[in-house]
Amino acid sequence: MHELNRPRSRLLTLPAIVIVAVITQAPILVTIGLSLVQWIVVRPDLGVTFVGLNNYFDILITRDFYSVVLNTALITLASLAACTVLGILFGLMLNQDFRGVSIVRTLVISPFFVMDAVAGIIWRTMMLNSSFGFNESFASLLGIKPVDFFGVYSLLTIIILIVWQWTPFFVLIMLAGFRSISVEIADSARVDGAGWWRELLSIRLPIIMNHIEVAILLGMIFVLKVFGLIYVTTRGGPGYSSANLPFYVFRLAFLGWNVGHAAALAVVTVGITLVAIFFLFRWFRRRFAEASS
C-alpha cells in the first residue's frame, strides 16, 4: 500500500521543489545567459548582442583577473589560518574558569556583531588613518612616519580586518568543542602523565577536529564573499592590490556597467568557489575516514 502511494505522495513535494529550484537556480541560469551577451548599460546605442564565450576570453586574458584571483586566494588562506589559530587559542583561554570570564567572552565575540561597513569605516578613519587616527597619534608620539596601511600594506590590512571580524566566529565554535570534552578524558590524560602540550595536541585538538573543520568550511564560504570591508576601506586598491573576486565583479558591473563581463566573471567566481569547496570537502571526508578508522 505504502509502495503504491509513494509516486503520488512525491508529487505533493513538486511545488516546493519547483519554488526552491526557481529561487536558487534561476539567478545562476540568468547569470550564465547574461555572460553570453555584450550589454553595456550606459551605451544603449550598442544594443544587446550575443557574443558566445567572448566575455570569458576577455576576462581570462586580462592580467588584473589573475592578480585578483591570487589576492582572493591569499586573503582566504591567510585569514582562515589566522582565524583558526586565534580561535583555538582564545577558545582555550575562554574555556577556563576565572573571574570576569563572561565579560571577556563578550568582548572577544563582539567584533563579530559589528557590520562590515561600520567596522571598515571605524578602522579606516579612527584607527588606521595617517592624518587623524591612532596611527597618526602613535607615529607622532614616536617621531616616525605613520604606517601606510591602505597603500603599501592594503592587502595585509584587509586580511587583518577580516581576522579581527571573523576570529570570534571561530572562537565560538572552538569553545563549543572544548566544552564538549568530558572532564574524565582530560583527567585520565593527566593521570597518564601527559603535559599541557601533549594533552592539547593528542587529546583536545583531535577531539574537536570536526569543530575545526566546520569552522574552516563555513569561514571559507564567508571570507570568499567579503565585500563591504574592502569597499569602505581600500576600494580594492591601490590598483587591484586588495581586490577580491566579489569586489572585482562589483567594479565591472557597477562602475563599468558591462553586464556581460560582470556575469562571466560571476560564473567563473562561482566555479572557483565550488571547486575550492569540493576539494576542501573531499579532504575533510578523508580526514573523518582516517579518524574513524
Partner: protein, 451 residues
C-alpha cells in the same frame, strides 16, 4: 529583449527597486520621488522642501545617497528602465549622454509651455552660460543646475605671511610646489599641501585631470588614440607624486574630498587645491582656519584656465509618471526665489553657488561670502569646451565626456593610486592605463568612428 534582460538582471541583483514603484496612481496628492546626493546644499533643499509642498500640495519623497552610490543607483534605475525616481540629481558629466540615451527628458518643451510671466520670472538667461551649456545636449537643456563649482587654491594667509611668501592671483604648479615644500612642517604636524589621494574618478582624478591639462597632456588625441604615452602625461603623473611625497599629507590613499576638508579645516595643511564650493565650509564657524584663508585661481603650467567645471543638477527621469509636477519642483529648487529663501531662512553664505549671475550681484550674498567673486571668475573662465592644449575629440575638464569614463576613470585612478603608493612603477601604471583607454576606445566604437 533588452527589457526582458533588464528585468532578469534586476532579479539577479536582488534589487527590489523594480517592485517598489513610485508615486500613488489613483487619488490623493501626487508624490514625487527625488534621488539626490548627500551634500550640504542638497540637504538644505530637503529641509526647505515643505515650502514647496505647502504651495503646490505635491509631496516629496527624498532618497539621499552619497555621490558614488547615487550615480550607481540612478544609473541602474534608468538604464534598466525600472522608473523608480521622478527626479534625479545628476552632474555635468552625466547629463549629455543621459539626454542622448533618453534616460532624462528634454526640458525645452516644458519651458516652451510656460506662460510668459512665469518664464520671465524663472529667467533662464540668468543661469551661468558655461554651466547651462554643460547641462545641454544638442542645444537642448536636459537639467537645471542646483549648484555649480570650479576649482581653486586655498592657502593659509597667516602661514604665508610668516614665511614671507606671496601667492599670485594665478599661480603655476611649480610655484605651488615651492610654496608647499617651504611651508611643510612650518608648524608641528602641518603639511605643506593636501591633495586628494583616494582612487575614483570623482576623487583623485578631479584635481589630477586639471594637472594633466595644465601640463599639456590629454586622455585621447583627436583620433581617439590614448595619450598615456605622451611626455606631458608622464610629467603630470611624476609631478603629482612628487608634490605629495615632498610636501603632502602622509599616505594619501584614503584621503578623498571629505578627509582633505577635515585636514584643512583642522589647520593641518598650508595649501589645498580643490572645489570652489569648499570655501564656505572653510569659513564656517566650526573651522579652525576661518578668516585665515586666501584664494587663488587653479594652478597653470603650459596651459592656463585649468579650473574644472561641475554642477549638480536636477533632471526628470524619462519614466516619471508626473513630469509636469516634477518640472514644477525643478523650477522651484533652482529659481531666484529659492536663493532668497535659503538666504533668509538658512543664511546668505549657504546659498547654492555657481548657478545664477544674479546671485553674484546680490550684496547680501557678497558680504556673507568674501570668496564669491573669485568663485564666479573660476567658473566663468573654466575651459569646458577646450580643456586641453593639444586638440581632443571630447569636452569636459576633469573628465572625458563619454559614458565609459566612469569605468576608465576608476581604472586609471587606481593605477595612479598604486603608483603614488609605490606599488607600481610609472611605466607599468601608464602602460596599463594606456591599455585600458585603448580598450574603451575600441569597444565603445570611438576608434572606428574616427577612422
Amino acid at each position: 529583449m533588452r527589457r526582458t534582460l533588464a528585468v532578469l538582471a534586476m532579479l539577479l541583483a536582488g534589487s527590489t527597486a523594480v517592485f517598489s514603484g513610485g508615486a500613488p496612481e489613483k487619488g490623493g496628492p501626487v508624490e514625487l520621488t527625488v534621488a539626490t546626493v548627500n551634500n550640504p546644499d542638497m540637504l538644505i533643499m530637503q529641509q526647505l522642501s515643505s515650502w514647496f509642498t505647502r504651495s503646490t500640495h505635491i509631496r516629496l519623497n527624498f532618497v539621499v545617497l552619497p555621490e558614488n552610490e547615487l550615480r550607481q543607483k540612478v544609473t541602474e534605475d534608468v538604464g534598466l528602465g525600472s522608473g523608480r525616481y521622478d527626479i534625479v540629481t545628476i552632474g555635468t558629466y552625466d547629463t549629455p549622454f543621459w539626454g542622448k540615451n533618453g534616460w532624462v527628458v528634454s526640458l525645452e518643451p516644458f519651458f516652451a509651455r510656460l506662460p510668459k510671466t512665469e518664464r520671465d520670472a524663472y529667467d533662464r538667461e540668468d543661469l551661468l552660460p558655461s554651466i547651462r551649456s554643460a547641462l545641454s545636449y544638442n542645444h537642448a537643456q536636459f537639467a537645471v543646475p542646483f549648484y555649480g563649482e570650479s576649482s581653486m587654491v586655498f592657502y593659509r594667509k597667516d602661514l604665508f605671511a610668516r614665511a614671507g611668501l606671496v601667492m599670485p592671483e594665478t599661480p603655476t604648479w611649480q610655484q605651488i610646489y615651492d610654496f608647499a615644500v617651504r611651508l611643510n612642517g612650518i608648524e608641528k604636524g602641518t603639511y605643506g599641501i593636501v591633495l586628494r589621494g583616494l582612487s575614483g574618478w570623482g576623487e583623485i582624478l578631479a584635481p589630477f585631470d586639471t594637472m594633466i591639462n595644465a601640463f599639456g597632456g590629454r586622455w585621447f588625441d583627436e583620433h581617439w588614440q590614448p595619450g598615456f604615452e605622451e611626455p606631458p602625461m608622464r610629467e603630470a603623473w611624476e609631478f603629482y607624486k612628487k608634490i605629495l611625497s615632498d610636501a603632502g599629507e602622509p599616505n594619501p590613499a584614503t584621503n578623498g574630498y571629505t578627509e582633505c576638508l577635515a585636514i584643512m579645516q583642522s589647520g593641518k595643511a598650508a595649501l589645498w587645491y580643490d572645489a570652489t564650493v569648499t570655501a564656505s565650509a572653510l569659513e564656517a564657524p566650526g573651522s579652525k582656519v576661518a578668516g585665515r584663508i586666501g584664494y587663488a585661481q587653479a594652478p597653470s603650467a603650459r596651459k592656463g584656465n585649468t579650473g574644472w567645471l561641475w554642477a549638480w543638477a536636477l533632471a526628470i527621469g524619462s519614466s516619471s509618471k508626473h513630469p509636469d509636477e516634477a518640472f514644477k519642483f525643478l523650477r522651484w529648487a533652482t529659481d531666484k526665489s529659492y536663493v532668497s529663501l535659503v538666504g533668509n531662512q538658512i543664511g546668505w553664505s549657504r546659498v547654492p553657488p555657481g548657478t545664477r549671475a544674479s546671485t553674484y550681484g546680490n550684496p547680501r550674498y557678497l558680504s556673507a561670502a568674501p570668496f564669491a567673486r573669485r568663485v564666479l571668475t573660476a567658473i566663468e573662465s573654466a575651459d569646458y569646451e577646450h580643456p586641453t592644449l593639444p586638440p581632443v575629440p571630447y569636452v569636459g575638464v576633469q573628465y572625458v565626456s563619454i559614458p565609459e569614463f566612469q569605468s576608465l576613470g576608476e581604472t586609471v585612478s587606481q593605477q595612479l593610486a598604486a603608483y603614488i603608493a609605490g606599488q607600481k612603477t610609472l611605466d607599468a601604471a601608464l602602460a596599463d592605463s594606456q591599455a585600458a583607454a585603448l580598450r574603451v576606445a575600441r569597444e565603445g566604437g570611438y576608434l572606428k568612428q574616427a577612422q
